[in-house]
């Protein structure tokens, strides 16, 4: 069964990368979102897909039951989900503003930080 899940995660990664490589800024950002979900799943998979029992110490018990799920990857992924949400929202706003200013969706056109070199040997000089 893990094999099917691994395949699904791999496909999600492929879709995320494919979208992120796009020159269209919007697709690029959506790609990051998909890639983010996929990477979260990879981290989660490192703790193995296992029991359905949540990692909660049951009343009266002193420690977590043997058959509960692995809590550590859950904690890591929970943090990651929230952070990636915040950053994606910011990216979407930034992308919208960029597009409004430059008038282009093409990420190849965004060259303010690295203008095309005038001299083939020397690196471009930034003002």
């Amino acid at each position: 069964m893990s094999l099917i899940l691994a395949l699904a995660i791999a496909l999600t990664v492929a879709a995320g990368v494919y979208l992120a490589l796009s020159r269209d800024l919007f697709r690029c950002i959506v790609g990051l979102a998909v890639l983010g979900s996929a990477v979260n799943l990879v981290v989660f998979a490192a703790g193995r897909f296992g029991p359905i029992q949540p990692p909660i110490v049951s009343a009266g018990a002193e420690k977590l039951a043997e058959h509960a799920a692995n809590p550590l990857p859950q904690a890591l992924v929970l943090t990651a989900i929230v952070i990636s949400f915040a950053l994606l929202c910011f990216s979407l706003v930034l992308g919208a503003r960029l597009r409004q200013q430059s008038g282009s969706d093409d990420s190849n056109q965004l060259r303010n930080a690295e203008p095309l070199p005038a001299d083939p040997v020397k690196p471009p000089v930034l003002d």
């Binding site: 069964m1 094999l3 099917i4 691994a6 995660i9 791999a10 496909l11 492929a14 879709a15 990368v17 494919y18 796009s22 269209d24 800024l25 919007f26 697709r27 690029c28 959506v30 979102a33 998909v34 979900s37 979260n40 990879v42 989660f44 998979a45 490192a46 897909f49 029991p51 949540p54 990692p55 110490v57 420690k63 977590l64 509960a68 799920a69 809590p71 550590l72 859950q74 904690a75 929970l78 943090t79 929230v82 952070i83 949400f85 915040a86 950053l87 929202c89 706003v93 930034l94 992308g95 919208a96 503003r97 597009r99 409004q100 282009s104 969706d105 093409d106 990420s107 965004l110 690196p123």
Partner: protein, 765 residues
């Protein structure tokens, strides 16, 4: 003459004192030599855990170098106060010169190889600063960079050699290494160590093909040339070669490399001296030639050569340093160093002329000079060693050219009717006239009072060739009678070369191809190609395109993933067959949980596939949301309800935010010539890499250590039953604080952008 003109006496007194430290060092050395027999040794723990000790060992060879460094140093410092009078930056020069002197002392007294290396590099660095002292001059900067690149590359080779030698001998003590001597030969790593060592020494001592930096370094102020590039630093390579010669001279590689490169350098330097018109550069080429002779002498197998090395080392420093100073004085007085414009200066500059003639006597190897003794010893050493005829003739030729150069620097420049470009040439100040005269006089005095020089030379010679035994009187041990004819022939040839100098010069000047194929040309080509390769690879890796950077990053990650999978494959037992356990795919055996997983997988796959093909933006958003929902379902059925609810919420919110911003993005652009196939291939490869990683990961046993610990510690330490929550808010609370900060900052960063968006929308509307 600028600021210092106001208070000339104060400035003079201030800078005269800079000569005191080397002078004090020199006097201390003399006192020590008289009262304490060599060798002196001592050691101080520096970093014991690394096996580093500040180990010091001073024997005859070190003492000889110390005498040169401090003795000539004191006079060079004095000379520099005159030469640089009025130069506003002379304080800087003296500071660097002093650091250089200390580094030199460090090299020659160090017994620990790494300590030696440290000081060795410090001399390269200070040499760079000194050669580039007139940094407003482009030629000066180029030369300084050249000297730095050549000697520092050699320094790297030397470091590798030192590490190898340390591995081979099991320690970094020079004396221990020398004591091991012949037993080293069995190690297969020795040839590599030797070659690296030779490269290190040859770059420092300007041996062919690394010699070119030395004449170019003549852009340095003259005191620097006299000190670094004749008397001390360029002899460091010679020092290390001579120092290690007792341990290595039984090796054929060592001997043949030293003899062949030494001879080649000696001849090459001598010939190229003929191509120059600048007195200082002529002297520099003859220095290259002399360094070649020294290398050749170290390569000679017989112990007599050790004595010749010690004597010639001394003689060369004692005549070349004054000659450089003489060149500097002429430059000062007449404004030029080009020998065509200079004649008959003896009347105008009598003291400088006297120094030049005394030093010239020694350089030509005429009787009554110390150079005569040195040349004599060289001839004897070569006669004893029965060297190849070629080497023999080469030395004769080299010595003849040295004699001719001595003639140029003395007879031609100072003799004859007065002629020089400036109206009035005058004698330089005593601070510039005295040092060359003093050094040259010392050389003469050594010849007349052998009792002063012989013990020091003897001690140095024994350090180079331990089998020599104690020498009290050099003249007595090596009677010069049988080689007197060789000296006569040398002088005769030298005289002829002196007379036909201009004709020879014209002849050599016309050989232009020499400039195109020489090592200098190779160096320049290498430098140019280096920048071109750098530009090419920068252009390849950094195109300034987002997708390009992402592609390279992904390629790197992919390589890492494949490497990690390979490592895991080595560690896991079952091999490929065990990895793919097809039996788990039999639907009939599945529990309900697995059906839920399958649903999640299907959702994700559908979302992923749809997002790749859909172009409409809202549809694309929905498809990507499907992926998030799929993973949320998976979380829900793997015991992670918190994750599932967060993911559901986030995914929904993200779609809402994106949909709200969609109007700002407009319709999807039609981007022609997008490398779809290449992107798809890279995406597939990334997916395959992750699949490979996951399949291998699942084959390994899960490490439950941390999970168990958190499960046990949650209640007693943090008083919480929800272990995930406890981890987030307690065990990794700082992390969570960081996370909240990131969320807050992205909001703060987005606010002004949103404001700008809204304003422009209002303007348009």
């Amino acid at each position: 003459m600028q600021a210092t003109d106001l208070k000339p006496h104060a400035a003079k007194a201030r800078y005269l004192s800079v000569a005191l430290p080397p002078l004090a060092g020199f006097l201390l050395l003399i006192w020590g030599l008289i009262h304490h027999p060599l060798p002196w040794q001592g050691s101080l723990d520096w970093a014991p855990s690394l096996g580093l000790t500040f180990a010091v060992y001073v024997d005859g060879l070190s003492a000889q170098f110390l005498a040169l460094i401090t003795g000539i140093g004191a006079l060079v410092f004095l000379y520099a106060t005159g030469y640089l009078a009025g130069e506003p930056r002379q304080g800087r020069l003296f500071l660097i010169l002093t650091v250089f002197m200390l580094a030199m002392i460090g090299v020659v007294i160090a017994d620990h190889l790494l300590l030696l290396f440290l000081f060795w590099e410090l001399t390269s660095l200070t040499s760079f600063l000194l050669v580039g002292f007139y940094h407003e001059n482009e030629q000066s900067r180029t030369s300084a960079r050249q000297a730095l690149l050549v000697t520092m590359s050699g320094g790297l080779a030397l470091l590798a050699a030192i590490l190898l030698l340390g591995e081979i001998s099991g320690g970094y003590s020079l004396q221990a290494l020398i004591a091991q001597g012949p037993t080293l030969a069995d190690d297969p790593r020795l040839p590599a160590a030797l070659i690296l060592l030779l490269v290190g020494c040859f770059t420092k001592s300007a041996q062919f093909p690394f010699h070119f930096w030395l004449p170019n370094a003549m852009t340095a102020p003259t005191p620097v040339s006299a000190y670094l590039h004749s008397a001390t630093m360029v002899k460091l390579g010679i020092y290390l070669l001579a120092r290690l010669d007792p341990a290595l001279n039984h090796l054929l590689l060592w001997e043949s490399a030293l003899m062949s490169i030494g001879t080649l350098t000696a001849v090459w330097g001598a010939v190229l001296a003929l191509r120059e018109r600048d007195l200082k550069r002529i002297l520099a080429w003859s220095t290259v030639s002399a360094l070649g002779t020294l290398t050749l002498l170290i390569g000679l197998p017989n112990p007599g050569a050790g004595l010749a090395v010690a004597a010639f080392l001394f003689a060369h420093a004692l005549y070349k340093a004054p000659l450089f100073m003489v060149a500097g004085n002429i430059d000062h007085a007449t404004g030029t160093r080009v020998i065509d414009h200079l004649m008959g200066l003896h009347r105008a500059m009598p003291w400088t002329a006297m120094a030049a003639i005394l030093a010239g006597l020694s350089m030509a190897g005429l009787p009554l000079s110390f150079g005569f003794v040195a040349k004599d010893l060289i001839s004897v050493a070569k006669a004893d060693a029965e060297v190849l005829t070629v080497v023999s003739y080469a030395t004769l030729f080299v010595n003849a050219i040295a004699a001719a150069v001595a003639g140029i620097a003395t007879l031609r420049v100072f003799g004859g009717p007065p002629r020089w470009p400036r109206g009035e040439a005058h004698e330089v100040s005593w601070r510039m006239a005295l040092p060359p005269l003093l050094i040259a006089l010392v050389a003469i005095e050594f010849e007349f009072l052998p009792g002063v020089a012989d013990p020091l030379l003897g001690a140095a010679a024994i350090a180079i060739a331990p089998s020599l035994g104690v020498i009290r009187d050099i003249d007595a041990s090596y009677p010069s009678g049988k080689v007197i004819t060789a000296t006569e022939i040398t002088l005769l040839v030298g005289l002829i070369l002196f007379l036909i100098w201009d004709w020879l010069h014209g002849l050599l000047q016309r050989i232009h191809w020499l400039d195109r194929i020489g090592p200098t040309a190779c160096y320049e080509l290498l430098l140019k190609q280096l920048t071109r390769v750098a530009a090419w690879q920068t252009g390849l890796l950094q195109r300034g395109r987002l997708a390009g950077y992402l592609s390279w990053t992904l390629t790197g990650l992919l390589a890492l993933a494949i490497g990690a999978s390979f490592a895991m494959h080595q560690a896991s037992e079952p091999g490929w067959g065990g990895l793919l356990d097809w039996s788990t795919l039999v639907f009939a055996d599945w529990p309900a949980q697995h059906w839920a997983w399958l649903t999640a997988a299907v959702l994700m796959i559908a979302g992923a596939a749809a997002s790749m093909v859909l172009r409409h933006r809202m549809a694309l958003l929905m498809a990507s949301g499907l992926v998030g929902y799929g993973s949320a379902v998976l979380f829900l059925f793997t015991g992670a309800p918190d994750l599932a609810f967060t993911q559901f919420a986030v995914e929904t919110a993200l779609v809402v935010v994106a949909a709200a911003l969609l109007p700002h993005y407009g319709a999807p652009p039609v981007l022609s010539n997008e490398p779809v196939l290449r992107n798809a291939l890279l995406a597939l490869a990334s997916g395959a890499g992750v699949l490979l990683l996951l399949v291998h990961l699942f084959a390994l046993p899960a490490d439950a250590q941390l999970a168990t610990w958190f499960g046990e510690a949650s209640l007693p330490l943090a008083h919480g039953r929800n272990v995930v929550n406890v981890i987030i808010v307690d065990f990794r609370a700082l992390d969570t604080l960081g996370e909240i900060t990131v969320v807050m900052f992205s909001l703060l960063a987005a606010l002004p952008l949103l404001g700008a968006l809204a304003r422009s929308v209002k303007r348009e509307g």
